[in-house]
Each structure stands twice: as C-alpha cells, then as structure tokens.
C-alpha cells in the first residue's frame, strides 16, 4: 500500500509542474460554455500558452453537470476553483431534496457552501467572481456571510462613482470605475497587487468586510466618492446606500487558518477580453490603457498560491557557547550538539530559522519589513521571551534568521515557537519542544566563590575551632573536676 501511495505521489508530482506552489488543477465553473470565449485571454494567461510559464490545467464545468464533484475518494479533485457568476436569473435550477438547510437557489449540488468550505479546509483555493448583471445566488451570499463578507441585500446593486468613471464607455451610468492599481492597505503589509496602471471595474458588486475577522483583508477598495445602489430602484435620490466610499471593497481576500485562500472579485466583467487592453478615459480627460490583465494575473497568482507563500527550511537551536571555538552551524552539527532535547536554565541558546518566500516560479529570501519583525517566542503555556529574530545570512533562496538569548530561570517543558501570521502571507507556526532542567547539584558556584558568604563560612569554622578547643580543655581539666567531685562525695 505504502509503495503504491509513494508511486502515486511521484506521478502526481510529475503532473503538478505548474507555477503554483500547491498544484495546477484548476476548475473553472462556468454555466454557459458559449461565454468561455469572452475570457479567452484570461484562460490563455492561466494556461501560460503565451508566456509559457503558469501552466494551469483548466477544467471547464457547468454547475448543472451532475457528475461534477470537488472531491474524489475523499481527496480534493482540484487544487483551485474559479467560480464565474451564473447567468441564470437567480432561479432555482436545482432544488436539493433531502437537505433542508441548503438554500434553494445555488450553484448546484456539487458547489454548496458546505462543500466549498470543506474544499477550503482541505487547502483548496477559491476565486469567486461576482457580477451585478447576474444576481449572486443565495448560497454564495450565505457562504460569504459565514466568512464575514457582506454583500448588498438587493441582488442587482452595483457600485457607481461620479468622479472616477470611464467617460468613454459609461458616460451616462458612471458604473465603470477607474481605479489605480492597489496600494498597500497598511504600511507594514506586503503589497502584491501594486503597479502604475489603471484598472477598469465595470458594474462591480460592493463587498463590506466585517471588523471581527482577522482573516479578511481588502485587496482593492473603491474611492471615497463611490457608493453602492440598485439601478432598478426608481427613486431619484439614493437613500441609505448599502456601503459608501472606502468602506466598499471591490476585491477582498480571506486567508484561512490553514493558509487556503479565498478571494472575492467584485466584477467578473473586468476579466473579459474586452477590458484587458482597452482605452479608457478618466473624468479629467486622461487617456490610458487598462491594466486589468496584469491585475488579473496578480489576483490569480496570489489566490492560487504563486506569491506570498512562505516555506520554512532548517530550524536549528544549540548552546551559544559551542559556536565560540567552532564557528558556524555546520561545525555544531559535526560536533553533534545541534538541536539537543534538553537545556539548563540560564543557558545561552542560539536559535536559527531559515525561511523562503515563493514568488511566481522560485523561492526567494524572505525580507521582513523594517516596521515589522519576525519574532521568536520561548514559551511554556505563555511566552517567557518574545524576541525579534535578526537576519544573519542569505542564500539565493532563503534568509536565515537568528537570535541568541538567555533561557529564563524556570525549568519545565518549553518550546521555541515562530508564529508569523501576516495578511497576504501564508501562516508560519513552527514549534520545537525542548526540556529545560534546573541546575545540577555540582553546577552551583562553590561557597568560597561568593565573597558575601565568607563571614558565615568563617563563622562555621570558628565555631568548629572553638568546639575543638573546648573539647580539648574539657578533657585536660578532668582532674580538677574529679577533686571537686571527690570532695562532694566525702
């Protein structure tokens, strides 16, 4: 059985030769196969026919297909899913019998929220695209709600911006937003979606991210003049819009605890061929070409684990004193003192960790921002030390971070832990357990080495000397006592 599994793994490895760090089997869920042609450039980019590297193996399936299944023999049948919005007007093609909890309107029995979450739990990545032209199925809304991503309650809502729209194509409706390519959401967060281009976002669906979930991060926000409204609404003035300004997230990301990625892309239309290299004109009259193609590549690259994937290499720790006369870790390994299972309290210990970052097609050294830090915890239930790791050397593929510190004066079972969780980077949680023992009996300093105790040492010996003198005099003075005794006897 074992050899069969390894053989299977080897064959699978042979198949999986794409750019993504996790796998190249991509399921594209598209309802009408006739619509496929509209996204042909996007597919070509994913398959890497034009620029020969990305190498995804695309499987196009309709949600209507009964034989579609995300899992086979309990394992994921695909590594990534790209969900395109269903064209059907929110009608229930599939009424799932038996399962009462499922909403009637959905993407079919193979793509229920439960199965999609199970897919994420098994480290599958999902890119979900929305469109205001086709209403979002309730099953998708409820899935997003579970992830604390909120969609407008009325299904036809779209985002408009009267100050940042494309005058060439949406001079009336103002519903094609022009946005600069993403800037960093926070100064210490890595930006994988940057660039100088302009992105055209036609008829986008607004998302609002909940405050409570640390797993969510917006990738692209609307400008402060944007708002979401329902064009079917007859009213002249929009009252109480679902979301306004930078509250609106047009592209949002959710990275689960197992680092599986789920991206919500607000406008499926932005991925179509016609928007990939189109001339747009902003309100102030500047002509520019859309950068949608590059942005689509950035989004898919991040979602499908091509960038922002951290890989931990060697994790080592040893007594610092050993490196004194034998420089470098290799010599420590040769001496056989690497990664001992036991230390003593107050030992000076050096911890090294090698981390690389996967970037499109290669492992690169991880660079930690100056305002951020990779931290090491020395922890037993709670951290006794939380220290910044310092990068000491770089290989072409990795950075070695190191830190030397004194163990706390507390014995027990500790662990070295590097727990690095940052937006857009996969989670790193490395633990190495060690025992920390107390001082052995012969490891304490001898009494005479502590000068403060000399008085008491002298006290003991003076007492002993006095006692010896006393015993001597006692024995010597015996006859005198005998006399007195004798007198008394008489």
């Amino acid at each position: 059985m074992r050899w069969f599994v390894s053989l299977l793994l080897i064959t699978l490895l042979g198949l999986v030769q794409g750019l993504s760090s996790t796998g190249s089997r991509l399921l594209v869920v598209i309802e009408e196969s006739s619509e496929k042609a509209q996204y042909s450039t996007f597919w070509d980019d994913l398959e890497g026919k034009s620029n020969n590297c990305r190498g995804y193996k695309l499987t196009f399936e309709s949600p209507k297909n009964d034989k579609l299944s995300l899992f086979q023999h309990g394992e994921r049948a695909f590594d990534h899913i790209l969900l395109l919005p269903p064209k059907s007007k929110g009608t229930s093609f599939y009424t799932i019998t038996g399962d009462v909890d499922l909403p009637s309107s959905g993407l079919g029995p193979a793509l229920t929220p439960k199965l999609l979450l199970q897919f994420i739990n098994q480290n599958g990545n999902i890119l979900l695209t929305l469109s205001s032209d086709s209403p979002t199925p309730t099953s998708i809304s409820s899935l997003l709600l579970e992830l604390d991503i909120h969609l407008p309650p009325d299904r036809d809502s779209l985002v408009v911006d009267h100050f940042n729209y494309d005058t060439a194509s949406a001079s009336e409706k103002h519903d094609v937003l022009l946005l600069p390519q993403g800037s960093r959401i926070r100064s210490d967060v890595r930006n994988y979606f940057g660039g100088d281009g302009t992105i055209a976002f036609p008829r986008a669906v607004a998302q609002e991210l909940g405050n409570s979930s640390p797993l969510l991060a917006p990738i692209l926000r609307a400008k402060s003049t944007a708002y979401s409204y329902n064009p079917k609404d007859e009213a002249e003035v929009v009252e109480d819009p679902f979301a306004v300004g930078e509250q609106i997230s047009l592209v949002s990301s959710m990275q689960a605890r197992n680092s599986a990625r789920f991206t919500v892309f607000g406008s499926a239309e932005a991925l179509e061929n016609k928007w990939f290299d189109r001339k747009v004109k902003s309100v102030d009259g500047r002509d520019s070409k859309t950068a949608n193609r590059e942005f689509a590549k950035q989004i898919t690259a991040w979602t499908f684990m091509e960038v922002g994937v951290l890989k931990v290499g060697r994790v080592e720790h040893h007594l610092s004193s050993i490196t004194g006369d034998a420089p470098g870790n290799d010599s420590v390994a040769q001496l056989g003192y690497l990664n001992p299972t036991i230390y003593r309290v107050k030992n000076d210990v050096t911890f090294n960790i090698e981390i690389s970052e996967y970037s499109y097609d290669q492992l690169t050294p991880l660079k930690v921002d100056a305002s951020d830090a990779l931290q090491l915890e020395f922890t037993m239930l709670s951290p006794y030390h939380r220290l910044d790791l310092v990068s000491i050397s770089q290989t072409p593929n990795s950075t070695v971070f190191s830190r030397t510190f004194k163990l706390p004066d507390q014995h027990g079972i500790f662990s070295f832990r590097v727990n690095h969780k940052r937006p857009f980077l996969t989670n790193v949680d490395v633990k190495r357990e060690v025992t920390v023992r107390h001082f052995a009996h012969d490891e304490w300093p001898r009494s005479w080495e502590i000068s403060a105790g000399w008085v008491w040492i002298a006290g003991v010996w003076i007492t002993i000397a006095g006692w010896v003198a006393f015993v001597g005099i006692w024995l010597w003075s015996e006859p005198a006592y005998e006399q007195s005794k004798g007198k008394k006897m008489q």
Binding site: A452, W456, V460, Y481
Partner: protein, 152 residues
C-alpha cells in the same frame, strides 16, 4: 466647690507658707533622692559582685568552661546575624549554616551543661558525665558535618 474656696482663701491667708512648704520639701527630697539611688546602686553593685564571687567560688571548673564556650557562641552567632542584617542574606545557605552552627552548638552545649552540672545530680544521676560528653561530641560532629556540607 472646695477647690474654688481654696483659691479664694489662698490670697487672703498667709502667702509665704505656700511657697515655703514646697521649697523645703523639694530641697529635702532632692537631697534624699541624690543619696538614695547611690545607695541602691551600691547595693546592686555589691549584689552583682557577690553573685559573681559566689559564682566563681562555687561553680565547678567544667561548668565555668561550658559557660565561657556558650558566651563565645553567643558572640559569634550575634556577629553573623548582625552581618546578615547589614549586608543581606545573599548566599542564604551560608547564612543558615553559619548561624545554625552556633545556635546548634549552643543548644548541645546547654544540654551538656544541664547533664554534667552537679546540682542536677538527682535528675541525671543515671547519666554519667562521660556518657553525656560522648553524646555531646557525637551530636556536635553530626552538626558540623551538616553545616559544612550545607554551606557547599
């Protein structure tokens, strides 16, 4: 009422007697007080001296030796304790060993004194002096062994 009357009367009545009486009294009392303490001090001195003489005359030689040793232990232990109070108890085991050695030795010596004092012969008649001394030596050796080991 009576104090009021007295106050009213006092200016009318003889003024001189009132200051006179106190002055004489104070003078006499001061002279007496100066003499009385010297007398008591003298008696205390003599009592102490007599006590000391009596101690020197009647106490057997060995009991005196024991008393000298115990006084020595009190001094040594006291000095160690003062040092601990002034400097701090950092090698605490050293303090415990040093101070404990004097205290323990004091206790052992005191029991030796009780057992070998001829005045306690009635109570400890069954214990010979040799036996008491042997116990004392054995106990002391064990104490010293512990203290020296404890101080590391």
């Amino acid at each position: 009422m009576p104090p009021k009357r007295a106050s009213q009367i006092s200016p009318n009545a003889s003024v001189p007697p009132i200051p006179k009486a106190p002055s004489s009294a104070t003078s006499s009392s001061s002279s007496k007080s100066s003499s009385a303490p010297t007398q008591t001090a003298q008696t205390a001195q003599t009592v102490l001296f007599d006590l000391w003489q009596r101690y020197l005359n009647t106490t057997p030689q060995r009991v005196k030796l024991i008393d000298v040793f115990m006084a020595f232990l009190v001094v040594v232990g006291g000095l160690q304790f003062v040092y601990c109070v002034l400097v701090g108890n950092y090698p605490f085991n050293a303090f415990l060993a040093g101070f404990g050695a004097t205290v323990g030795q004091f206790v052992l010596t005191a029991s030796l004194r009780i057992q070998t004092n001829p005045e306690n012969k009635r109570e400890f008649g069954s214990v010979s002096h040799e036996r008491a001394f042997a116990d004392f030596v054995l106990g002391s050796l064990i104490l010293h062994f512990f203290c020296v080991n404890f101080i590391n």
